[in-house]
Amino acid sequence: MSHISSKRLFYTIFVSLIILTGLTVFVARQDFGAMNTPVALAIAGLKATLVILYFMGVRYNTPLTKVVAASGFVWLIILFGMTMGDYLTRSWLGFPGR
């Protein structure tokens, strides 16, 4: 909990985030077909992971903090999962809009 990261680490993460932002812009201009969204989400996920682990200090924190951080994603899974449960089953009845 009392871990103090070096400035060098913070600068490295900052530069990595800038590079990944540039990469986001670059891939947005390319056409990967069905992979467009997964590629964009993968880069965004990597950026979020860097922020959570280093800028928010979760990597050096207690197991309880790690569990709390992870539980936020459980709620995200509930939100996405049950919403997609609607979208993916709308066509099952075989007429539009259902």
């Binding site: 509930i78 939100l79 049950m82 099952w92």
Partner: protein, 538 residues
């Protein structure tokens, strides 16, 4: 105003308006919130009076259709975001959570003050939207009403709700850290008053849900102002996605309103029955169960949107399940009162009122959670009656019960008991007269959100408006005697109800840092029987 000042009371020192506006004392911040939410309750109440006056006659003769849209929208926005959500947590919770924990203050006093300023800023923006001509989307800000169809001040009102959301997040965050880290020695989790369990569960909902609605409302603002295409079907967006994101928060938000009221009622039931709560651990766990399962039911608001019926089926089943922990509480409160030594002070009236009204609200929720029946009842006055039984019959009755119970502690003043009982009866009768006819008129097919209706519904609407007048009289009576109590001497004893709990062991009103010595807890919560035994032995 300054009779019999007790030295060291948090109300007295330091002096001056700045000492209140810059205070970090959780008790003063609770009073700041209490004054603020009362102002918004009155504003929301004025809009409600407008609605009920319009609906006395079948013709739309008081407001135009457009104006009526604005009136019910602002009634909903003000009452939900600026009264009900902060009502118990920000006032009674702010005041009592640290004291019940045996702490001097909340974990982050500055953040607590920041939450009040964010609340005021958010509320001011929304009132600004009213001054600039109002909003007409309904409190739910549904797209495409809010994104494409409305030319009113949606962005400003939405921004106000967005900012107020952060106030709610900060309050929840403060409570969770305080309950985890600042409990007195001996105050184990299962010795905590159920008020703390309820606020812990509420705080989880505030932290996990509020960011979602904040971002959703921000997306609506971005779509209106910058042309984002999240909810616009012309460019691949989906208006129903808004409903998913909105209800992911706004259904659990109902539990933000009702869980703290359940915490209040748990305290009051034990105190007025002079008994340990029946099934303490079940009541404690049921708060957490409501908070968690409450996140899995939002689709029951969307049975008649284009939501898949398979998703609707799952949401319907889970809705039946979330009723179970609420029923656990209600049965356990009733069992607590069974063979209790019930005292007939004014808090008892609020407890009984809450239990009756919440029971009706909860059971009619099961009607609406049933998919087939909801197709008939959706967007009728049946829904309006149901959620008022929960939010007003449950939330506001719990809030007022708590205010009456802890008023002597908060202010050091006693209000007239007889007036308290009359007010509770007036509110109970007025409430039922207002909203029970709405179940009937809704079942008969009267839709909500119209300013005109067929003539055959008039008698039920007149009854409802008459009830609203009685209800309003009850609220005004409460306001009158509580304000009047400020002009009386501060002569409340430390424990006027003979209740258990750390807050009753300190003076009324408390000193700035609550406790002269750090308390040590040596007994379970609500040990009324043990206390009586000790009193007999001594």
């Amino acid at each position: 105003m300054n009779h019999d000042i007790k030295a060291g009371s948090y109300l007295d020192a330091p002096h001056g308006i700045a000492s209140w506006l810059l205070t970090k004392d959780h008790k003063r911040i609770a009073l700041l919130y209490l004054i603020s939410i009362t102002v918004f309750f009155i504003i929301g109440g004025i809009f409600a009076a407008g609605i009920r006056t319009e609906l006395m006659t079948p013709e739309g003769d008081l407001f135009t259709a457009d104006m009526y849209n604005k009136v019910f929208t602002l009634h909903g926005v003000v009452m939900i975001f600026f009264f009900l959500i902060p009502s118990i947590p920000a006032t009674l919770g702010n005041f009592l959570v640290p004291i019940m924990c045996g702490a001097k203050d909340l974990a982050f006093p500055r953040i607590n003050l920041l939450s009040w300023y964010l609340y005021v800023a958010g509320a001011s923006l929304t009132i600004g939207a009213v001054a600039l001509g109002g909003v007409d989307t309904g409190w739910t800000f549904y797209t495409p009403y809010s994104s494409m169809a409305s030319n009113t001040n949606v962005t400003l009102a939405a921004l106000g709700v967005f900012i107020a959301g952060f106030s709610s997040i900060l309050t929840g965050f403060n409570f969770i850290v305080t309950i985890h880290r600042m409990r007195a020695p001996g105050l184990t989790w299962f010795r905590m008053p159920l008020f703390l369990w309820a606020h812990y569960a509420t705080s989880l909902v505030m932290i996990l849900g509020t960011p979602v609605v904040a971002i959703t409302i921000l997306l609506v603002g971005a779509e209106r102002a910058l042309g984002f295409a999240i909810f616009d079907p012309r460019v691949g967006g989906d208006p129903v996605l808004f409903q998913h994101l909105f209800w992911f928060y706004s259904h659990p938000a109902v539990y933000i309103m009702i869980l703290p009221a359940m915490g209040v009622i748990s305290e009051l039931v034990a105190a007025v029955s002079r008994k340990q709560i029946f099934g303490y651990s079940f009541v404690a766990y049921s708060s957490l169960a409501i908070a968690i399962i409450g996140f899995l039911v939002w689709g029951h608001h969307m049975f008649v949107s284009s939501q898949s019926i398979y998703a609707g089926l799952v949401f319907s089943i889970i809705t039946m399940i979330v009723a179970v922990p609420s029923a656990v509480k209600t049965f356990n409160w009733t069992a607590t009162m069974y063979k209790g030594s019930i005292t007939w002070d004014s808090p008892t009236y609020w407890v009984l009122g809450f239990m009756g009204l919440f029971l009706i609200g909860g059971l009619t929720g099961l009607f609406l959670g049933t998919m087939g029946l909801d197709v008939h009842l959706h967007d009728t006055y049946f829904v309006v009656a149901h959620f008022h039984y929960i939010m007003v019959g449950g939330g506001v009755m719990g809030f007022l019960g708590g205010v009456h119970f802890w008023w002597p502690k908060m202010t050091g003043r006693i209000y007239p008991e007889t007036a308290g009982k009359i007010a509770a009866v007036l509110v109970f009768v007025g409430f039922n007269l207002t909203f029970f006819p709405q179940f009937v008129v809704g079942y008969l097919g009267m839709p909500r959100r119209y300013h005109a209706y067929p003539e055959e519904f008039q008698i039920l609407n007149v009854l409802s408006t008459g009830g609203a007048a009685v209800l309003g009289a009850g609220y005004l009576l409460i306001l009158a005697y509580l304000v009047a109590s400020f002009f009386k001497p501060r002569n409340a004893p430390a424990n006027p109800w003979g209740a258990t709990g750390l807050e009753w062991d300190i003076p009324s009103p408390p000193t700035t840092f609550n406790f002269e010595h750090d308390p040590v807890v040596t007994e379970d919560a609500y040990d009324y029987v043990g206390r009586a035994r000790k009193a007999r032995e001594n």
